[in-house]
Symmetry: C2
Subunit: 391 residues, 2 copies
Amino acid sequence: MKINSNYFNLKESYLFANIAKKTTEFSKSHPDADIIKLGIGDVTLPLCSAVINAMQNAVLEMSQKDTFKGYGPYQGYDFLRDSIKKYYNDRKIEIDADEIFVSDGSKSDVANILDIFSKENTVLIPDPVYPVYVDTNVMDGRKIQYINANKDNGFLPLPDENIKADIIYLCSPNNPTGAVYNHEQLKKWVDYAIENKAVILFDAAYEAFIEDKSLPRSIFEIKGAKKCAIELCSFSKTAGFTGVRCGYTVVPMDLEFDGASINKLWFRRQSTKFNGVSYIVQKGASAVFSKEGITQITENINYYKDNAKLIAKAVKDKGIYFTGGENSPYIWMKCQDKMTSWDFFDYLLEKTHIVGTPGSGFGKNGEGFFRVTAFGDRDNTLKAVERLKRL
Amino acid sequence: MKINSNYFNLKESYLFANIAKKTTEFSKSHPDADIIKLGIGDVTLPLCSAVINAMQNAVLEMSQKDTFKGYGPYQGYDFLRDSIKKYYNDRKIEIDADEIFVSDGSKSDVANILDIFSKENTVLIPDPVYPVYVDTNVMDGRKIQYINANKDNGFLPLPDENIKADIIYLCSPNNPTGAVYNHEQLKKWVDYAIENKAVILFDAAYEAFIEDKSLPRSIFEIKGAKKCAIELCSFSKTAGFTGVRCGYTVVPMDLEFDGASINKLWFRRQSTKFNGVSYIVQKGASAVFSKEGITQITENINYYKDNAKLIAKAVKDKGIYFTGGENSPYIWMKCQDKMTSWDFFDYLLEKTHIVGTPGSGFGKNGEGFFRVTAFGDRDNTLKAVERLKRL
């Protein structure tokens, strides 16, 4: 029995293990230090009451024979897909319920969608980037082409006609940089994809953080996108579902490659390799898009965004270059005095007892940059901001 | 962009769609017919109270900041892995918590585990079989070797030394046949796997239905299995979790191929392509293996098994050959008068208003056989048994 030898090509990922190790060591040698963690990409606010109530009711339903739910539809229950469809319709985007696939989260989706694409495709990945896009393709043995995101392009790279690609990864608002594409920029990508007969995997995990109404929250706001794009969405950051696990992909009926319907292929993959999302979770997810749910999650998202604004202001006042901080929960800042990312990590931890994420962990263009997140406590964020000011 | 052309090699699966279609048509032309569905492999009893209470508490925890849970460990929470470890220890099997990987169900696991194995491997699949084993390998383009399960071997095929295979699928108690391997038979498979440097994927989804204490409930009861087998387990049939979604794989630390640790590879796959199971679901799953939980699920499993015994007795009294009916929720019966599976389906529906599953849907050796399930209502089961007697 032979293993998938592509696994030998994976880089060991020590980023978060190293962060944890250094933090623990610092904590041991400085037991009185009040360490503030602004590195984690995890939410901290509890689930909103609309979701809690929906899930409590769903658990009760599961306790009674006549309301008990067994296997659900592979693509997700109608009540949830209709809620998601409405969420798009309210933003003037027409999507059919059959174009929506409910899942246990967009990490699974962004990985599993690759099953339906040939290994022979070239993927185009921005650098810096969420490492999963890279690793999942290394596991499949695909050729990876990187495109540079950097200060020169405001971490918003545009297509290079000289590069041919088949699968294009775009994440906007971006993890780790917080940068957000505008309509014109996304149109360039859609045109490039159509020109190259390529598919765009558009990661919209942070779309709910956009407050600038001129900025697109869905790739499907762009003309032509239904012919070349798949959108990946998540309840994780939108509704605090990091521990609940729910997301969805939108795969337009118009999407065809090799004479095959991508929607049909994805359905085949999911109906063969997956058995749907927990009924209780789907009930909770559906409540997110109720009138009450929208009000409550907006409150929570604003809480995180206000954290982001506080951090962004402190960084700006210090004259440090950064992206993000608005329309995003991330602040992507230049390291001071030409320090490397890890040197800056050590420096920040030493001087301010703040833990962040070294940008070099996200790719070569992340070297010399640093990611700070706005998902923490307001009090801790204010404390962190004061310490940053005194740096 | 090229799609994964292996998808063109998939057979369209019409089995359950055709069953649904014929049932609906019959219902329309016979509006007074009291149709009894004994074809579905879905549970009907609600979740037990230990699980309900655990999940209600977990939902409450998610509503409070200080008990809220975000991202959990990729492999599953310690509290659940420790429960599973104890479930094995109580059956005299030593497993470490690190050998346990919690998932959203064994359908996902049996599919996703293939990611870590080379496409160049030959898989050995029994016929008849749960179609997912076949389809997932067609999607990967692997060579499939079938091994015959039939009346001659009591639907319990043993290794053929002349067939070389790298990945071996065993499901015991079996879906669809309900047949159960004994220790001696499984030892032959373990010896064969070790001889061939092959891995066994042991699907133990129905292990909780075994009441004959001489029969193995885990592949790890067999000497040598830790060097060649992965066990796939599910809360679906054990605890009625078909709509809750939870399962686990056991990947021994001793399992190595190509100089690589399979446990490490699976961890890499899961930590890259998956983000863990819902906290609420894991809390429910952990309650299954509490003292209270075990008592309650045993009651439910016995309810289904008593259904199975009633059906099995009726089939036996008619002098019809069958496997299953004990130690399993399935009865796999020979179709009368040399009818084909679909002819028998039509005959049964016409004469008794009972819906079952044509065996031909599970492979060529299923032709002339028929699967009936014991997951239904007791009253309906008794009614069905009366109708079968009058056939």
